[in-house]
Symmetry: C2
Subunit: 347 residues, 2 copies
């Protein structure tokens, strides 16, 4: 369905990574971790409780709101890849999801978003103050869960990822409404705000399974490249879908003046007049629905959306290659398909 949105004329010339599976899904990974994920969900539900009723109410709205549990699934699948037989990763995967949920709550406050995963955001329902504070609670609870596990190495990886995420978010704020933002800077920002947690989620599985630093770094590379692919695709979808298919307000990035790769490419390739349009739009002077429609036309005509997906495909391929020679074939195939899925979401 989304094929019609994103430069269909370009997609024909891009061969799917997995030719035997033209529609890659998360199903193999979900099947691999189903039992574990049930345990993680139990931890999540138990540990978002509080004697202050508003906390589970607000957190539950987002946590129960149809998220894919992508990041905790990665922890579980990577642990399975390494034949880890224990249970430590359940709490840690829950901690990863809590960190992610905390950043979503704060992001929606920062962006003033009104819709996520097809539902109204917490900041719209309850206001900004509890969204900020419940985010802080989940973040603290994540670290409590990690201290119960007791691995200082895991704590270090996730504390570092959390600091990098916040740096990336602040960096994104300072790049906002600046059409001059380079592709390098954009990649650095999404490497921080998105890929750092994907990388950490995967890496901690190697720590729990007590594998070498080489294995840690390989899983880190898998997660990092997958995270970049994921964000690239999200940034393309923001211009390609409507709210109904995406679960959040399409065109949000455009109206917020966020300089994502599609815009960087279309601006670089545009005529003088088009470059003026992009500057006006990103600086907030042309953000009507008609302007958004015009922006979409430019993105398609310049091939900016399609080439954003080419870039995403590159990172997905790097993610898959990072796993070469590591772990069992079945889990590796599931992780590879998850990387293909990250890109296929756009089609």
């Amino acid at each position: 369905m989304r094929t019609r949105h994103i430069a269909p004329q370009m997609t024909a010339q891009i061969l799917p990574l997995g030719q035997a599976r033209p529609q890659p899904t998360l199903d193999p990974m979900m099947a691999l971790v189903a039992t574990d994920l049930g345990r993680v969900n139990e931890v999540i539900l138990a540990r978002m409780q509080s004697e202050v009723p508003l906390i589970p109410e607000l957190a539950g709205h987002l946590i129960a709101g149809g998220g894919k549990r992508m990041r905790p699934m990665l922890t579980l699948a990577c642990a399975r890849l390494l034949d880890y037989a224990g249970e430590r990763h359940h709490k840690l995967a829950a901690a990863v999801e809590f960190i992610h949920t905390a950043t979503l709550l704060h992001d929606d406050v920062v962006d003033g978003s009104s819709q996520r995963r097809g539902r109204r955001t917490a900041n719209i329902i309850w206001g900004n103050p509890p969204s900020v504070l419940v985010g802080d609670f989940l973040f603290s609870r994540a670290f409590e869960l990690m201290t119960e596990d007791g691995s200082v190495r895991v704590l270090r990886i996730l504390a570092n990822a959390s600091a990098v995420i916040a740096e990336g978010e602040v960096d994104q704020l300072t790049a906002q409404r600046r059409i001059e933002t380079s592709e390098d800077r954009y990649l650095h920002i999404i490497g921080s705000k998105t890929a750092a947690l994907f990388a950490a989620a995967c890496r901690i599985a190697a720590v729990v399974a007590e594998r070498s630093e080489d294995v840690e770094l390989a899983l880190d590379a898998y997660g990092r490249n997958l995270g970049i692919a994921f964000q690239l695709v999200d940034d393309a979808i923001d211009y390609a879908s409507d709210g109904a298919t995406m679960g959040k307000d399409a065109g949000d990035d455009f109206r917020d003046g966020k300089v994502t790769l599609p815009v960087i490419l279309a601006h670089a390739r545009g005529s003088d007049e088009e470059r003026r349009f992009w500057r006006d739009a990103i600086e907030g002077r042309r953000v009507s629905d008609d302007d958004l429609a015009h922006a979409k036309q430019l993105l398609e005509r310049t091939g900016a959306l399609a080439d954003t997906l080419v870039r995403a495909r590159h990172y997905a391929a790097r993610a898959i290659d990072s796993l070469a020679g590591i772990g069992g074939a079945k889990a590796r195939a599931a992780l590879a398909e998850a990387a293909e899925f990250a890109v296929a979401r756009a089609y």
Copy 2:
């Protein structure tokens, strides 16, 4: 100077805790930890840096903005009390200050505050979004510092304190504009939002000094009672001072509809008409300057401010008694005077 504000007719009958020191200060504690505090400030300055310039700019505004460094000083003074000779507590005291700074940034967003420590707040200068995100950064950086120390016990104490702080803040939000809030609930809220970090800051000194759990609990009790005393006095000062003496907007609690102990006592002791006034004020219908002046009159006439300070004095005394028999006399005297100072600030 503040004596004139807070029920001067009541203060005469309350004997100072330290009769030989009618004006207790933080000077003995500051002298005790001066060298250590210099090292902590170096860690703070070094570790609030980031490649994203807005982060040190915004964080530095608050961190350099004249805070007393009360919480890190407590860590240092408690370590000195236990004759700890190492340097681990420098990073940990910096982590405590980062957690505190993060909560201040988020509090000011939540309350929409415009002034703190006599300066404009970060949310007024830079807006809410970077205040939220830099708070997240400092919070993450705090946990990074702790992982560098490597004590899971310290991590557990501070992660738990952080979660309890957030719970207290959310609880305070849900109690806001509810005149029915009981003294018990108020004490529970300030025990969470304020005293938990005081307790943790003191307790971790015992962990670093490798002392028994009894000593840990004694320092925890000292910090917890001190923190409650501190908050009680802050809540009294909010009705007793003007912005110039307090460094933040006086009357903020009144206008925000926060039900603090002075209000709880004045409401409980008031006539039917006065109780109607308090309900109207806390529910946001009577918050003019004249209403604030009327509130101050009621607080003085009912003895609510003076009795709030009597309560504070009780907790300060409990803090001091918690230290009985622990550590060296000089440090103990400095910590005792810090508890006296917590109350004396109001006079």
